[in-house]
């Protein structure tokens, strides 16, 4: 079996295992039969069953959604922008969405659906801001697309600062938003998922439809154009889908960083860059990674909960260092100024 199919098969096996782990770890082993029973019949008669059905299942759903959408968006961004460090969190998409949502809620008192619209708008705005800031560096000495990442980090810092200032202006509502702003996978947000889930599903569908054209574009724009692919249209639609998908994930549970950056790097060595195979792999692996992070956040400091966003930021930052060392500091890349 080729490496690729091995990876795909194992990923699709690991996902249900991880899901079960996420749902069941933390309960006493003796209660497992009745828990599975409750899951199958969807009725809760004891407190444990209620926790399973009404707290853990929503949480798993949100984690799978966010992980999958972020990883797929990250892979698409990295392919289209041809930059191994591109991802929704490093290009200002997540922080832009968070800023617009917080500003909209605090200033205009938006309801949940309109908050989502604000988040989507903010995601697009964040991306455009990142590109605009990157322009001042020009491209003369930038073969690796470094300026885009710098610009993204700068824009993220800026937007986060402005969000912080907004929250300060309203001390009472600040308490409500503070944990959301750092990325909080919380079963209480299942009502948000109910409103926004179709956006992520739609963007993933767009990716899967455009997977082959995108792979052709990856091989080279001229080759793709000669094969009949409308390069600019496909690129723009896919980018927009990636940005809006990430925006919807932010609207549900706040900006969860680094999943979109790291999962493509896990997937690519095994599956290659062909999006037809890589996208499903990213979806499953992203879901697995997010479930794992959420499990760690939930169980590490019992009975207190840690925010999943903080866990992904902390661990993701360290993995980011490893990626940078591998890609940019390996001996072969040192010659380029």
């Amino acid at each position: 079996m080729s490496r690729r199919s091995l990876f795909l098969w194992s990923a699709s096996l690991v996902l249900p295992v991880m899901l079960c782990a996420h749902l069941f770890i933390g309960f006493a082993p003796t209660s497992l039969p009745e828990l599975t029973n409750a899951l199958l019949h969807f009725e809760a008669e004891t407190y444990e069953q209620a926790v399973l059905l009404y707290q853990r299942v929503p949480r798993s759903l949100i984690a799978v959604y966010v992980g999958g959408v972020a990883a797929a968006s990250g892979f698409v961004l990295q392919s289209l922008i041809r930059n191994p460090l591109a991802s929704p969190s490093t290009m200002g998409v997540n922080s832009g969405a968070a800023l617009f949502l917080v500003a909209g809620t605090l200033v205009f008192d938006l309801g949940t659906a309109l908050q989502g619209v604000a988040a989507l708008g903010g995601a697009v705005f964040g991306f455009l801001a990142c590109i605009a800031v990157a322009r001042i560096a020009g491209r003369r000495n930038d073969p690796r697309g470094l300026s885009l990442i710098l610009a993204g980090a700068l824009v993220s810092m800026l937007f986060t600062g402005v969000t912080n200032a907004f929250l300060l202006a309203d001390p009472a509502r600040r308490v409500d938003f503070l944990s959301w702003v750092t990325g909080n996978i919380n079963h209480a947000y299942i009502d948000r998922l109910e409103v926004f889930w179709w956006i992520g599903v739609l963007s993933v569908a767009v990716f899967l439809v455009l997977a082959r054209p995108m792979t052709l574009i990856l091989l080279g724009s001229e080759k793709a154009a000669s094969a009949g692919v409308n390069v600019s249209l496909v690129s723009w639609i896919a980018l927009l889908a990636a940005i809006l998908g990430s925006g919807s994930a932010v609207a549900v549970c706040g900006p969860i960083g680094f999943v979109g950056l790291i999962v493509p790097h896990i997937v690519r060595p095994f599956v290659g860059s062909n999006l037809v195979f890589a996208l499903p792999a990213c979806l499953t692996t992203g879901a697995v990674v997010c479930l794992l992070a959420d499990l760690a956040a939930r169980e590490a400091l019992k009975p207190y909960v840690l925010n999943t966003g903080l866990v992904t930021d902390l661990i993701g930052g360290i993995v980011f260092v490893v990626i940078v060392k591998r890609f940019y500091l390996s001996p072969g890349s040192r010659e380029a100024a």
Binding site: G26, A44, T46, Y47, A50, V51, Y54, Q55, L168, A169, D170, P171, A172, R173, V175, D176, S179, W180, N184, N186, H187, A188, Y189, D191, R298, L301, K302, P303, Y304, V305, L306
Partner: protein
């Protein structure tokens, strides 16, 4: 004739407040401050924690941080109206949130500024206007309505505080007699609902009332020994799963200030969102040991808040019977 003039001038001098002595004190962070004996114009840097206790003692405030120019408070809940009742004169604002305006403070001509230990960085600048006294308000450092007691000593109203406390203690005894069961030895757990479950700290009138009645806080220790609240430093939210398994003798729920409402139905709905099915499975809910309180009334470290808590407890126990 000269003796008469002397006596009259002495009498006048004795009555004149301008000659009141200044005292030299050490505030809660160790700074030496020279404070007037009976401050007339006080500016506070935190209205719920410092301003309301002072007003509860009968002191009128000149200015307070968090009031805007048109007299409204920065958050939707006005603590003065809620805790002390309507009709009290409101202090003036000293600048928007996050930016106290020194010129505005000076225009109010304060003779004392009361701030919390968290404003230590601002103390030097504030002391260019008036002496600054830093009072501890953090949860680990003060308990119940200690803040009001300390401030009473600061402004020379110990007598007023003693009277308030005596009345309050009488009411505690009355309530204790009226309760069906003796509360001593029972446990309580107070939770503040936002989008997570936050255990309420120990510096509020509510906690004072409960502990004077005899309740003690439920220890929420985890398997790795993290004690309730994570010590005095951190304040982590409680896991919703663990919460459903807890069984305090009295469960108290407070809904966030910005929620749609702080009455019973809204609070129950808010908790249902966080811990679905709690009213079906939690022992306190099944046995009717849940008390829902308006946080704005009971959260300030004042005798008035403690009395509101007693009222709520009394109403609730009567309804339960």
């Amino acid at each position: 004739m000269r003796i008469l003039v002397l006596c009259v001038s002495l009498a006048l001098a004795a009555m004149s407040p301008a000659f009141a002595a200044d005292r030299s004190l050490t505030d809660d962070t160790g700074r030496e401050v020279t404070v007037p004996e009976h401050p007339q114009r006080i500016v506070v840097m935190h209205e719920p924690l410092l301003g309301v206790p002072l007003m509860d003692l009968g002191v009128e405030l000149a200015g307070s941080y968090g009031r805007s120019d048109d007299g409204t408070f920065v958050i939707a809940v006005d603590f003065i109206d809620t805790v002390l009742g309507e009709g009290h004169p409101k202090p003036k604002g000293i600048g928007p949130v996050g930016q106290p305006d020194l010129e505005k403070i000076r225009a109010l001509e304060p003779d004392l500024i009361v701030a919390s230990e968290l404003d230590a960085g601002k103390a030097e600048q504030l002391s260019t206007v008036a002496p600054v006294y830093l009072q501890n308000v953090g949860s680990g450092k003060v308990h119940g309505f200690d803040v009001e007691e300390d401030l009473a000593a600061l402004v020379g109203r110990e007598g007023a505080f003693a009277r308030r406390k005596a009345d309050y203690l009488d009411r505690v005894e009355d309530l204790r007699a009226a309760l069906p069961e003796d509360p001593s030895g029972k446990t309580y757990l107070a939770i503040f609902l936002t989008d997570q479950l936050n255990v309420v700290g120990s510096s509020s009138g509510m906690v004072q009332a409960l502990e004077d009645l005899g309740y003690s806080r439920l220890e929420v220790a985890g398997t790795n020994g993290i004690s309730s609240g994570g010590g005095s430093m951190m304040l982590m939210p409680l896991s919703a799963e663990e919460f459903g398994r807890l069984d305090p003798d009295l469960l108290i729920l407070l809904n966030s200030y910005m929620a749609q409402g702080r009455d019973e139905a809204d609070t129950r709905a808010a908790l249902d969102k966080l811990v679905p099915g709690w009213d079906r499975f939690m022992k306190p809910a099944l046995e009717g040991r849940v008390l829902i309180v308006d946080p704005a009334r009971v959260i300030t470290p004042t005798v008035a808040s403690a009395e509101h808590m007693l009222d709520s407890l009394g109403d609730w126990s009567r309804k339960e019977r």
